[in-house]
């Protein structure tokens, strides 16, 4: 009750300020009047009574003040007064306020935005129960992570002692995709084929309906599907009666058995809309032949460790299994696990490729934030120096040191809060921009938003900056002796705080230097990378991915050949239709498409040349192609002939090999006419009929020059989907629709996706580097501008302080040139010290971004010299204005002003 009264009275006091003041005044006056009246009663005259009362009570004003200062509302009122004063101060110095707020906003906004992106990827735990026990298990190929086969999965499942459960799923990249028919146009859905316990391993379950059961994950098992909440809402209006209903996928009926909750974040393949069981054929594992889908390395394994089992225990367990094959689980060459297995926590696994990038960006943004803070501290320091007189007067009039301090902290906090608010706006825009700019491989993009943690981060940063910048100058400043400050109307000395200011500017220049060097190195890398010859001609080249959808194309039966034949027929007819388009010069299809995001397990094959014997197996790229594929791609023929219509299924098997493979395998012989086995040590011999140039497969930065090319008609499988490559006479983008229509004229039900010109594909294959480059360029330029502002600010302040000194120098005969030089030298000296420190910093920090560089040393002298020149130029410009002003000082005016 009394608390309520406190609050209500306080509020009344705050908002009806006038009436409360009047009441206090009236009560004090009345007290005085009563005292006078009491005096008169005692027989004094009115004058005497008043004198006595006054002597006793004293001046009424301090009494009123004392009474008024009671209550919490009074603290609020003082604070509001401080705030109002602070706002007036900022309004009066609009330039200062604007520069500080913008600086802070950029710094805080950028760091918050980056933190928002980094947080879900690197820091916050995955949205599953005990996420730290979730692990990814990988095959190893030359030290890198690689897919596994169903056979390996079964072996690990049976033999491991570390995992509570283990699930397998398709490697993404469209293998589980399916076309939804009925309900209007056929729509390609992103699907994921998973083993029945996939959701169980993750620790999630459908919000409606049920999970898969083991009995459904068998060969020819029931056709069942689980939908994502998004698909359920989008296509079926969230109708709960969908459970148990049938939908048509790829020409077959599937029963919907469950809907995943909306909150489910499928981090392993975030855009999945539908899940279906893998339904592998276990009998293939004991058939004695390795030629079935069950043996192909195309799967990923996620496992949940038993409670209490550590990562290293599990690693030892897996290594032991990998190194001791047993008869019960035969292994083909490509599944021998000879190079071991890789075990990584799911979180690290997701972040693996992007982690160095994110760390580099984090480092950069922290530097920008630092530069921004330094700038604000700088500005505040400079201003406090100017305001020394004001503080001295306040102290002389009786303000305590604490009171002055409070005023200053209020002012800087106000700045910080304004900067923070603007920063949050910047962060909102920044997160959006980052998500839209982000490279395709960025994990957990769904979870990226300006989250409360990031907001908290921004506010914490704001507050700390506010307090630090508020206190920093005060600690240095309030101790100023009153007399000295009061007596000083214009600076005669460059005070001690000049040193602090200078140190800050040096820091700024150093940080800007580091950022700019990084940007320069990335820029060079990017340029070199895009100048790398891909080995084919990307101009006038249109590419697209063409799917086959329908049961006749699915190799599910014991004999997959009819399905492969059907696929080939369709692709053959489609490419012939495409070739009839007038603007098309050459067209072919193949897999994998160079520099595309085709999954890495496609296009890896073991090649064994006749002369090497059965032990001479080497891993090589393998391209399945149609006639004209190489011609359309513009891959040059070095000798022999291309594959063509002659290389039918009934003809002797022919192949092309790349010139690097030819050189490495046959350094002293003619490779033409030599023979090799593909995918093992048995089967048909392929005869080399031609040698073609090397090409880049996964990225311009990766060298994998050894490759073989075979025709689909002479392969055991025809993959689907395949990429079409079409060389056009004009702009390839203009032909895209005609090509699509030509393919659909053969079969209108086949989905065509990723229609993109090769030139664009090359650019997007370097999206991650580009992403980092854009950010670094942005951060670098911000830092450069801030550093320039910093130099300008300090020099400008120093010229103000030294006005009298300059006047004296001018009066004693220093020429304008001398003074110009004096100030310029001062500024450039600071810049030079900063650049020296920055040089060392850049050399050290470029190590972080080693993995992002290409074809350039991280100590590339050209970049370093270029940045030095740029910084020097900018520093000179920043120094020029104050120096010019100093050189215009009229001694007669300055000296008389004292």
């Amino acid at each position: 009750m009394s608390l309520l009264r406190h609050i209500s009275r306080g509020l009344r006091g705050l908002f009806i300020q006038g009436s409360k003041d009047a009441e206090i005044a009236a009560e004090v006056q009345q007290y005085f009047d009563e005292a006078v009246a009491a005096g008169i009663e005692r027989g004094l005259t009115r004058d005497e009574a008043e004198r006595v009362a006054r002597a006793e009570i004293g001046n009424l004003a301090p009494v009123r003040e004392q009474v008024r200062s009671y209550g919490w509302e009074n603290a609020v009122r003082t604070w509001m007064m401080d705030l109002r004063y602070a706002m007036r101060q900022l309004r009066r110095n609009r330039g200062f306020a604007a520069v500080s707020v913008i600086t802070l906003a950029l710094g805080i906004g950028a760091s918050t935005a980056i933190f928002s992106v980094v947080n879900p990827i690197l820091l916050s735990p995955l949205p599953y129960p005990s996420p730290s026990r979730l692990m990814m298990i990988w095959n190893t190929y030359q030290g890198a992570r690689f897919e596994l086969s169903f056979a390996t999965y079964r072996e690990l499942l049976a033999r491991n002692r570390s995992f509570e459960s283990m699930a397998v799923f398709d490697s993404g990249d469209g293998l589980g995709n399916a076309t939804l028919q009925g309900n209007g146009l056929p729509e390609r859905l992103e699907g994921q084929r998973v083993s029945w316990n996939y959701f169980q391993v993750l620790g999630v379950s459908p919000s409606l309906g049920r999970d898969f059961q083991a009995s459904e994950d068998i060969f020819h098992g029931p056709k069942v599907a689980i939908l994502s909440d998004r698909l359920w809402q989008r296509k079926f209006q969230g109708d709960p009666r969908m459970i148990g209903r049938s939908i048509r996928l790829d020409g077959e009926n599937y029963t919907v058995i469950g809907i995943m909750p909306r909150s489910f974040d499928n981090v392993l393949q975030p855009t999945t809309e539908i899940w279906m069981p893998e339904q592998f054929d276990v009998s293939q594992l004991t058939s004695g032949s390795f030629k079935s889908w069950e043996w192909i390395n195309h799967l990923h394994i996620v496992g949940r460790l038993k409670t209490g089992v550590t990562h290293s225990q599990a690693v030892r367990d897996l290594a032991q299994i990998a190194s001791t094959p047993i008869a019960e689980f035969p292994r083909p060459d490509w599944g021998s696990l000879k190079q071991g297995l890789i075990l990584e926590s799911l979180q690290d696994d997701l972040a693996q490729t992007i982690k160095p990038t994110l760390l580099a960006i984090m480092a950069a943004v922290v530097m920008v934030l630092l530069v921004a803070c330094v700038n604000v501290v700088n500005l505040l320091l400079a201003r406090h120096t100017q305001r020394e007189g004001e503080f001295a007067v306040r102290t002389a009039l009786g303000a305590s040191r604490g009171r002055v301090l409070r005023q200053l902290v209020t002012e800087t906090l106000l700045l910080a809060v304004l900067g923070g608010l603007a920063g949050i706006a910047v962060a909102f825009a920044g997160v959006r921009a980052l998500v839209s700019l982000s490279p395709p491989g960025l994990p957990r993009i769904e979870a990226i938003s300006l989250d409360p943690a990031a907001l908290g981060f921004a506010l914490a940063v704001t507050t700390v900056i506010g307090l630090l910048t508020g206190l920093f100058p005060v600690v240095g400043g309030s101790r100023t002796e009153l007399n000295r400050a009061l007596s000083r109307s214009s600076g005669r000395t460059a005070g001690g705080r000049g040193v602090a200011l200078r140190a800050l500017v040096v820091t700024q220049v150093a940080l800007a230097m580091i950022l700019l060097v990084s940007t320069g190195l990335l820029l060079h890398s990017m340029r070199r990378l895009l100048n790398v010859d891909p080995g084919f001609n990307p101009n006038h080249l249109l590419t697209m991915v063409v799917h086959t959808s329908g049961p006749e194309y699915l190799p599910v039966s014991q004999d997959p050949r009819p399905a492969f034949a059907a696929r080939f027929r369709f692709y053959q007819q489609a490419i012939e239709a495409v070739r009839r388009i007038p603007a098309v010069r050459e067209a072919g299809f193949g897999i994998p498409l160079p520099l595309s995001d085709d999954p890495s397990f496609l296009g890896q094959a073991d090649v064994q040349f006749e002369k090497d014997g059965p032990r001479g197996v080497r891993r090589s790229l393998r391209f399945g192609i149609s006639p004209q594929f190489c011609q359309a791609m513009g891959i040059p023929l070095r000798s022999g002939r291309f594959l063509d219509e002659r290389d039918k299924a009934s003809a002797p098997f022919s192949a092309l090999i790349s010139e690097s493979l030819a050189r490495n395998e046959f350094p002293h012989e003619d490779p033409l006419g030599k023979r090799f086995h593909l995918g093992g040590t048995e089967g048909a011999w392929y005869t080399v009929v031609g040698i073609v140039g090397d090409i880049k497969r996964t990225s311009l930065a990766v060298n994998e020059p050894e490759a073989v090319y075979t025709d689909f008609r002479q392969s055991w499988a025809v993959e689907s989907p395949l990429s079409f490559v079409i060389r056009t006479s004009g702009d390839p983008a203009l032909v895209a629709n005609a090509v699509k229509n030509a393919i659909w004229s053969v079969d209108p039900n086949q989905p065509i996706v990723r229609v993109i010109t090769m030139e664009r594909m090359i650019v997007s294959s370097e999206a991650e580097r580009r992403f980092v480059l854009i950010l670094f360029a942005a951060f670098g330029s911000v830092a450069l501008v801030l550093a320039a502002v910093g130099i300008y600010g300090v020099l400008s302040g120093s010229v103000n302080d030294r006005m009298r000194e300059i006047g004296v120098r001018a009066a004693l005969g220093a020429s304008r040139r001398d003074i110009l030089e004096l100030i310029l030298r001062d500024g450039l000296y600071l810049a030079a010290v900063g650049m020296c420190i920055g040089l060392a910093g850049a050399a050290a920090s470029s190590q972080i971004m080693q993995s992002l560089l290409f074809g350039i040393s991280r100590l590339d002298p050209l970049t370093y010299v270029g940045v030095l020149l740029l910084l020097t130029a900018v520093a000179a410009i920043a120094c020029a204005a104050p120096a010019w002003r100093a050189s215009r000082v009229d001694p007669s005016v300055t000296l008389r002003a004292e």
């Binding site: 007290y31 009563e34 009570i57 301090p62 009494v63």
Partner: protein, 111 residues
């Protein structure tokens, strides 16, 4: 200034006000004069402290305040004790007596 006049002992002002008002409702100056009279001038109340204390006690719910006409037809803010205030007075008085007794015993023992 008269040296024999002492400021009110720290922390006892509230009790003095409550005690004074327990006799009859009165205004600020009235309280001050009554305290001086009863203590025979030992305690002199500073008007600033008194009026502040009155505000505090009112907020605590121990006093009611109202602007009224006094007997000599001047308007004054008259304070009166509430029920809670009376209880508080008992508590403070008991507390004070306990302390004063303890101090008195201590002083006696020293002699």
């Amino acid at each position: 200034m008269n040296d024999s006049n002492t400021d009110v002992i720290q922390g006892t002002l509230d009790m003095l006000i409550l005690k004074t008002l327990s006799l009859e409702p009165m205004h600020g100056f009235g309280i001050s004069r009554r305290v001086e009279q009863i203590t025979r001038g030992v305690f002199k109340v500073n008007p600033g402290s008194l009026l502040t204390a009155l505000q505090r006690l009112e907020r605590a719910g121990w006093l009611d305040a109202e602007w009224k006409q006094t007997e000599n037809s001047r308007r004054a803010k008259i304070y009166s004790l509430t029920r809670a205030g009376r209880k508080q007075l008992e508590v403070e008085a008991a507390d004070w007596n306990r302390r004063a007794g303890a101090i008195a015993r201590l002083l006696k023992a020293e002699i």
